[in-house]
Every structure is written in structure tokens, then in C-alpha cells.
């Protein structure tokens, strides 16, 4: 177990260097000159441009820029944005907001997704099962920006049940709507995934044995059935957490949530290298860690799986 974790952690180093380099190169190759763009439609004064380039280190060769960035990173310096603010500050503002939103969405997804999945799996073919199937089908087939804008217009503007956009991101009640919109798609997947595995495992020999042994139904479902059925679901949830953190660009835009997605979007539009690389690096780390946690969870759920 210990060796497995150590090996996985070591594997993160090349992945980390590879992704940062790739992102760095990609941002660098975006068309347009970010420094000249600061001047808008006005002519860029060459002397000022030269100063600014030097200030942001953009006058150095690309690989040197990358080297400076990486060495800075290991000293905890994420560089600075074109507004002159440290990228670390930008991230410190954005990540808590997104983490709050993502965890909220994740909780909705887990509770309702698995809950509905188990219920429908146990009552296959019944009315509830059909209704949930239709509901998930609708959710999966409607693009998230349609869903988001529709929910905002109806619930926020028309019925005035909540504020149309998030006014204060520390207020959880205002995060309900964006969190639900963010969670819905994954919720549908989780529901369907759980339903299928539950329904399948229900016919497995060990369940029949457990029932035949005269175990109470609660124990049959809660321990024998659930534990085996959750393995694929946990895999999905693990990677999904990473996606919720970084993939909320659309939802954050619709509900004006000042989170990671918004920050990233702006940074890409303005070719702000340090911000893009910084944010994406952290997101990559989140992915790596969550997939490691998923792998470790396997062992907990299925005793047959052993890590040497």
C-alpha cells in the first residue's frame, strides 16, 4: 500500500512537468500579442511595449521563460498577471468559490444520483423507474447552457425564488441554483450507472445466497449489494470531481460566479500565460489526487483488490 502510493506520487512529477510545459507552449502560441492588446485600438507606444515585455519576462526565449516559471513555482511563486497582481492571489480568490460550488454540486450528485440509482435499480420497470429514466434522458440531452439560462430565467427572473445571479458567493442559499445546474448532468449519469449495476448485481449468486441465509433486506442491500455496485460509480465520481472544479466555465458564466472557470476564461482571452498555467496546474493536481483517492477507495470497497 505505502509503496503503491509512493509510486503514484512519483508518477505525478513527469505528468506535472509535461502538462505545465504543454500549456505554456499552447498559451504562447495563441495568436495575437497580449502586450500590444493592452493598448486597445490605440497605437502601442514601442518604448512602453518594450518596458512591459521586459517586466513580464516576455523578451526572453520561450524555454528560458518556462524555466523561470518552473523555478519560481517551486519557490511558491506563481508569477504575476498583466494587472500586476500575483497569480497566487487570483487563485486564492477563485478556488474557494469554485471548491464551495463544486462540493455542493458533488454532494447533490452523490446523494440524489446514488439514491435514485439504487431505488430505480431495485424497482426496475416500475413507474418510478420509468419517470427517472425519462428525466435523466432529458437532462443528458439538453446542453448545460440551455438548462442554465432556462433555470435562471424561470426561477430567478420570472418566479423570483432566488436571485438570478450569485450576489454573494459565500451564501450557500444563492449557490443552490448554479450547483443544481452544475450537478444535473453528472447526476443523470450517476443515476443510470448505479441503476444498471444495482439491477445487475441483484441477480448475482451472492445476493441470492444472502437472501437465502435470511439476512434482513437492509443488510442485503446496504452491505452486499451497495458495496459491489459502487465500484464503477466511485470511479466516475472521482474523475467527475476534477471536472466539476475546472469544467464549470459555462455555469459560472451564466450565474456570474467569480470562480476558477471565470478566471481561466478571462486569462485565456487575454493570453495571460502565468494565470492560465497556474490555474491549469492546480487543476491537474486535483485530477491526479482524486484519481489516486479513487484507486485507494477500490481496496476499501473490494477486499479482493490489493495494492502491493
Amino acid at each position: 500500500m505505502g509503496r503503491f502510493v509512493a509510486r503514484r506520487l512519483l508518477q505525478m512529477i513527469p505528468v506535472f512537468i509535461g502538462t505545465t510545459l504543454l500549456i505554456f507552449l499552447m498559451v504562447y502560441s495563441l495568436p495575437g500579442d497580449p502586450v500590444k492588446a493592452l493598448f486597445g485600438s490605440k497605437a502601442a507606444d514601442p518604448a512602453t511595449v518594450a518596458r512591459l515585455r521586459h517586466e513580464y519576462g516576455l523578451d526572453k526565449p520561450l524555454l528560458q521563460q518556462y524555466w523561470d516559471y518552473i523555478t519560481g513555482l517551486f519557490q511558491g511563486d506563481f508569477g504575476q498577471s498583466f494587472t500586476g497582481r500575483p497569480v497566487a492571489d487570483l487563485m486564492a480568490e477563485a478556488f474557494p468559490v469554485t471548491i464551495r460550488l463544486a462540493l455542493f454540486a458533488f454532494a447533490i450528485e452523490v446523494v440524489f444520483g446514488i439514491g435514485l440509482g439504487v431505488l430505480t435499480g431495485l424497482r426496475r420497470g416500475k413507474f418510478l423507474d420509468q419517470a427517472v429514466l425519462i428525466f435523466t434522458l432529458i437532462v443528458v440531452s439538453i446542453p448545460v447552457f440551455v438548462l442554465g439560462n432556462m433555470a435562471q430565467f424561470l426561477i430567478g427572473v420570472k418566479w423570483k425564488l432566488v436571485t438570478p445571479t450569485v450576489q454573494d458567493s459565500t451564501d450557500l442559499s444563492q449557490l443552490i441554483l448554479p450547483a443544481v445546474v452544475l450537478a444535473l448532468l453528472s447526476l443523470a449519469y450517476v443515476t443510470r450507472l448505479t441503476r444498471t449495476t444495482v439491477a445487475e448485481n441483484l441477480r448475482a449468486d451472492y445476493i441470492r445466497t444472502a437472501v437465502a441465509k435470511g439476512l434482513p433486506r437492509r443488510r442485503v442491500v446496504g452491505v452486499h449489494l451497495m458495496r459491489n455496485s459502487l465500484i464503477p460509480v466511485v470511479t466516475f465520481l472521482g474523475t467527475d470531481l476534477g471536472m466539476l472544479m475546472g469544467g464549470a466555465i459555462i455555469t459560472e458564466g451564466i450565474f456570474n460566479v467569480p470562480g476558477v472557470g471565470n478566471t481561466l476564461y478571462h486569462a485565456v482571452i487575454t493570453s495571460e500565460g502565468p494565470t492560465v498555467v497556474g490555474v491549469v496546474t492546480v487543476l491537474v493536481l486535483v485530477y491526479l489526487v482524486s484519481s489516486l483517492v479513487v484507486d485507494l477507495l477500490y481496496a476499501v470497497l473490494d477486499p479482493r483488490i490489493r495494492y502491493a
Partner: protein, 543 residues
């Protein structure tokens, strides 16, 4: 069973939601002008997160400008009709448009209690012009004598003070320019010329986060990045335009659709530009809480006159022909739903020095004449017209419509070439890499005809993206700049405008842009000026 129940509800909600959107509509609501007003009421204003620290000489985009223009008050200002008014200045005197004597109104204070003196201006300008400080607006000081010493093209500055700026006493200083500039007085209105307190020089970075100005509003609390910035009435403000409200919360949005949803729910009070997608129906949604009126900005199509084909003299006729093939009025009314109006020249109406029809007949829709002119000029190079624009702004609609008109009315094949970002198209344009026409838009810095002509059409001018150069036009511009009074200057500028369009037409004038604004039920007395901004101090908040 809880899960099951909520599933049913969720399913029902979705069905209801889908049905309801089909019949959803806006409701009108009148403007209750008799409502009692709260003199300390605070309203919120739609804005975007500033791209730069809030230093007047480093802010050149609207996000930051809207806050600075409330936190600071410069020497002069313009009223809603574009009339120049003295603000912090008592007088700005000159006899030759080259030597200026500026006297301040005494007793003005910065928000930290410091007195505004002549040095507050002179030191700020010297600091900003210094190339070491790499300020985005440094070129605004280019006309001042000694600019080259503090801002050489290469290397370190020779001096840290411009010789043209002299402090006479606490409330008076003089400005010497290296050559006459008839609009220098107007230019003083721009953010770059705001005064700075001594506290600024100790910590410019910190100041950028928490600016201290001399304007009607002072900052409250700290700048909540990407969320909001609050300003409140400054009790010691000495200007004439004392706020009739308690303050403004500038709320930052990344998508204007989100802001519009908030506007409909009175969660944001004033939106100076409603989203493009709502332009067709915002009047139904807001009733008399909305306005669509021209401001000092235009949308044109510029031609690459540095290109071997387009620089041939006979192609002027082709450009004029293309211009006559465009039915501007119809496009403005239908495709653009009134968010722009047809232009008859390079200067928008309402701007000082504006006269209609600078274009002559060449901006009038006349397909027969259009075809004839294009033929006379030897046709469009390559027999195909490509128009490059940036797709991240609201440009697709008008570019498509214009191209369509050219195809139908001039019989010239026309395609559009959208670039993903402003930066991308901007680089192609400024590096002069294009061989085809491109979107050229201009939002004025100050409301005078010169700002629409000199900045774009003088040889080598900052925003002369076309590479246009004409000795006659240059001479007229110089003559205008050197003239003793502004009325003469404006007349000569109009001549230059006519000459540009009727002889060469380096760019096709298309539209005058509109302020398409709306406000909530909480506020009244909302008016917009030619800078596309509300008269903030006049806004009244209902009780």
C-alpha cells in the same frame, strides 16, 4: 421515499419549465417619477472587471475608466451636450494654443484630506510620461515640451521632468507644448490628466488597488476582484456636480446576459449596454426605463492602403462604389434592430464640429452608381472582397449584413473572415499583414471632430490602421491644430473629413453606435452622455 418524491418533483419541474418558456414574456412597468428620493440611496452599475490597476494613466478600457471618472475630477469636463466646462480648473488660458496658463479652484481636497495643488497635476504627468513607469497612456503627454527627454524611443530617460510644465504657485501652473494643439484643452478631460496625491508615489501598486482621488465619490472598503467595487459620496467634494445619491456599487460581470437577468430582477440598477441578444426586445422588457441614443463611437470598414492593389489611385472609386452599395439605413433598422444608425461621415452627430454629409453622395445607397464606380475603378482586386473582424465582440450581425449588401447590390463576391479574439485581429491589423478590408471601430477620447480625424487619418497617426497618407489632409489637420480658436479649427477639420471621404475614402463610414441602456425600478433621472455613461451624480434612488 424522499428520493423518489423529489425525483417526481424534479421531473415535473422540468416539464413545466419547458412548457412555460414557450409562453414567457416580459411585463412592462412604468417609471414612477413622483416617487420619494433617498439622497443617501446607493445604486449599482453594471461593469466589467478592470483589466489594469486603477491608476488613471494606466487605464484605457471602460471597466477601469468608469470607476476612475467617478473617483477623480480633472481640470475640465464635458456636460451632457458635449460643452466644455471647467471642473477643478478655474481657467485654462491660451492665446496661441501652445502656451497654456492653468489656474485651479482653491480648496479642493483629495479623499485622504490632502489639498489638490498645481504639483498634484505636474508631478502626476511627469511620473506618467516617464518611460520607466511604462504607463499605457504615456503617449497622451507627447505634445508637451520635453516629452522626449522623459520618454525616449530607446534607453533610459535623460530627465524625470518635462521642461514644458512649470508650477507658478499652489494654484497655478503653465504648460508649454512643442507645437500648437487646438484641442489641448479638450484633451485635458481624459483620465490621463487626472491629479494624483503624494500617497501615490510611495506605493503605486497599493494605490492601484485602492485609488485616492479628488472626485465626487471616494472608494469604500476594498476592491473585491471580479465581484464589486463600492464608491460613496465624498462630503468634501468642491465641484458643482455634487451627487444626488449616496454612492455607487460597481458590479462586475463576465457575461452581459447574466447582468441583464439581474437588471430584470432589479438586482443591478443601471446597465449602459444591454446584451446584443436582447436588443430586439429590451424595450418590451423595460418600457420607459430604457434608451437607445447615439454616442461618440462609430463602426467603419478600413482598407489596407499599404497593399499593392488597394493603394492604386483608381481604387478610390472602387471603395466609394462599395460604399454606395450598402443600404445602411435598412441594415441599422432590421439586422441591427436600432442598436446603430447610418453614418454620413466619420464624425458622429452631437460631437463638437460635426456637420452632416461629409461623405457627399458616396454614403447614399445607389446600386446603379455603385456598380458603375466599381467598374470605373477596375473592379475589386481578385474580384472578391474579404472583411476581417473579431468575433468576440458584437460584430457578426453587421459584417454579415454589409457583406450581403455588397454581394447583392454591387455584384461583388463578398466573404467574412471572423477571427476568434480581438487580439488576433488587432495584431494582423497593426502589423499591417492584411490584404483585405477590416473592421475599424473608434470610441472617442473627447467629444471633438479632431479626435475622429487626426487620430486615424493623419500620416503615421496612432490609430491609422489603413496606412493612409495624404499631404493635403495632413496640411489641413496641421492648419486646424494651429488655428487660434476652436470654431475655425472645427471648420477646417470638417474640410479634411470631406477631403478624406470624397477623394480617397480609405475607410467606408458605416454606422454611428448607440448607447442601448436600461435601468431598474429602483432609480430615476437616468440620463446618458456621449461617453456612453450615465450622469452618475444626477441619478436618484427611490425610497
Amino acid at each position: 421515499m424522499r428520493g423518489a418524491k423529489s425525483a417526481k418533483w424534479a421531473a415535473c419541474a422540468i416539464v413545466v419549465a419547458m412548457a412555460a418558456t414557450a409562453c414567457g414574456g416580459g411585463s412592462k412597468s412604468g417609471n414612477d417619477d413622483n416617487a420619494a428620493v433617498d439622497p443617501n440611496g446607493v445604486f449599482s452599475y453594471y461593469n466589467t472587471e478592470p483589466q489594469n490597476p486603477l491608476i488613471p494613466t494606466n487605464t484605457n478600457e471602460v471597466g477601469g475608466h468608469y470607476m476612475l471618472t467617478n473617483l477623480f475630477r480633472g481640470l475640465v469636463t464635458f456636460d451632457i451636450k458635449n460643452k466644455l466646462m471647467m471642473a477643478n480648473a478655474q481657467s485654462v488660458d491660451t492665446t496661441d494654443n501652445q502656451h497654456f496658463d492653468i489656474k485651479l479652484k482653491p480648496g479642493w481636497k483629495f479623499h485622504n484630506g490632502e489639498t489638490v495643488t498645481a504639483s498634484s497635476y505636474v508631478d502626476a504627468w511627469n511620473w506618467a510620461a516617464n518611460v520607466k513607469n511604462a504607463q499605457l497612456n504615456s503617449s497622451w503627454f507627447v505634445d508637451i515640451k520635453g516629452y522626449d527627454d522623459v520618454h525616449p524611443d530607446k534607453g533610459d530617460p535623460k530627465d524625470d521632468k518635462m521642461s514644458g510644465l512649470k508650477v507658478v504657485n499652489d494654484n497655478e501652473f503653465t504648460v508649454d507644448l512643442s507645437h500648437p494643439v487646438s484641442t489641448f484643452k479638450d484633451r485635458l478631460f481624459y483620465d490621463a490628466f487626472f491629479p494624483l496625491p503624494k500617497a501615490f508615489y510611495k506605493d503605486p501598486k497599493g494605490f492601484g488597488e485602492h485609488p485616492i482621488g479628488n472626485g465626487p465619490y471616494k472608494m469604500e472598503g476594498s476592491w473585491e476582484h471580479k465581484v464589486q467595487l463600492k464608491v460613496r459620496k465624498f462630503d468634501d467634494y468642491k465641484g458643482d456636480d455634487k451627487p444626488k445619491n449616496g454612492g455607487i456599487d460597481f458590479k462586475f460581470y463576465s457575461k452581459d446576459d447574466a447582468a441583464y437577468a439581474d437588471l430584470l430582477s432589479d438586482k443591478v440598477d443601471i446597465m449602459y449596454q444591454v446584451p446584443n441578444s436582447e436588443v430586439g426586445k429590451f424595450k418590451d422588457d423595460l418600457g420607459d426605463r430604457s434608451v437607445s441614443q447615439p454616442f461618440g463611437g462609430n463602426t467603419n470598414v478600413g482598407f489596407p492602403l499599404y497593399n499593392d492593389e488597394w493603394k492604386k489611385p483608381e481604387k478610390a472609386k472602387v471603395r466609394q462604389g462599395l460604399s454606395m452599395a450598402i443600404d445602411r439605413d435598412t441594415i441599422a433598422k432590421t439586422a441591427l434592430k436600432g442598436s446603430k444608425e447610418a453614418a454620413t461621415g466619420l464624425t458622429p452627430p452631437g460631437i463638437e464640429g460635426y456637420q452632416a454629409n461629409a461623405c457627399g453622395d458616396f454614403c447614399k445607397f445607389d446600386p446603379a452608381k455603385a456598380k458603375e464606380l466599381i467598374k470605373q475603378g477596375g473592379g475589386v482586386p481578385g474580384n472578391k472582397l474579404v472583411i476581417t473582424y473579431n468575433a468576440d465582440g458584437a460584430n457578426k450581425e453587421w459584417v454579415d449584413a454589409v457583406c450581403n449588401d455588397i454581394r447583392q447590390n454591387a455584384g461583388v463576391e463578398c466573404v467574412t473572415d471572423p477571427k476568434a479574439t480581438f487580439q488576433e485581429s488587432r495584431q494582423l491589423i497593426t502589423d499591417k499583414k492584411l490584404s483585405n478590408p477590416f473592421r475599424m471601430a473608434w470610441v472617442m477620447d473627447f467629444p471633438n471632430i479632431s479626435n475622429f480625424i487626426a487620430e486615424q487619418y493623419r500620416t503615421g497617426a496612432g490609430a491609422n490602421d489603413m496606412g493612409f497618407s495624404d499631404k493635403g489632409v495632413d496640411d489641413l489637420i496641421q492648419k486646424a491644430d494651429e488655428s487660434k480658436n476652436i470654431d475655425d479649427a472645427n471648420k477646417i477639420y470638417y474640410q479634411a473629413e470631406q477631403k478624406i471621404l470624397q477623394e480617397q475614402m480609405p475607410s467606408i463610414p458605416l454606422f454611428v453606435d448607440h448607447t442601448v441602456a436600461g435601468w431598474s425600478k429602483r432609480v430615476k433621472n437616468v440620463k446618458f452622455d456621449y461617453q456612453r455613461q450615465a450622469i452618475w451624480t444626477d441619478v436618484e434612488v427611490k425610497k
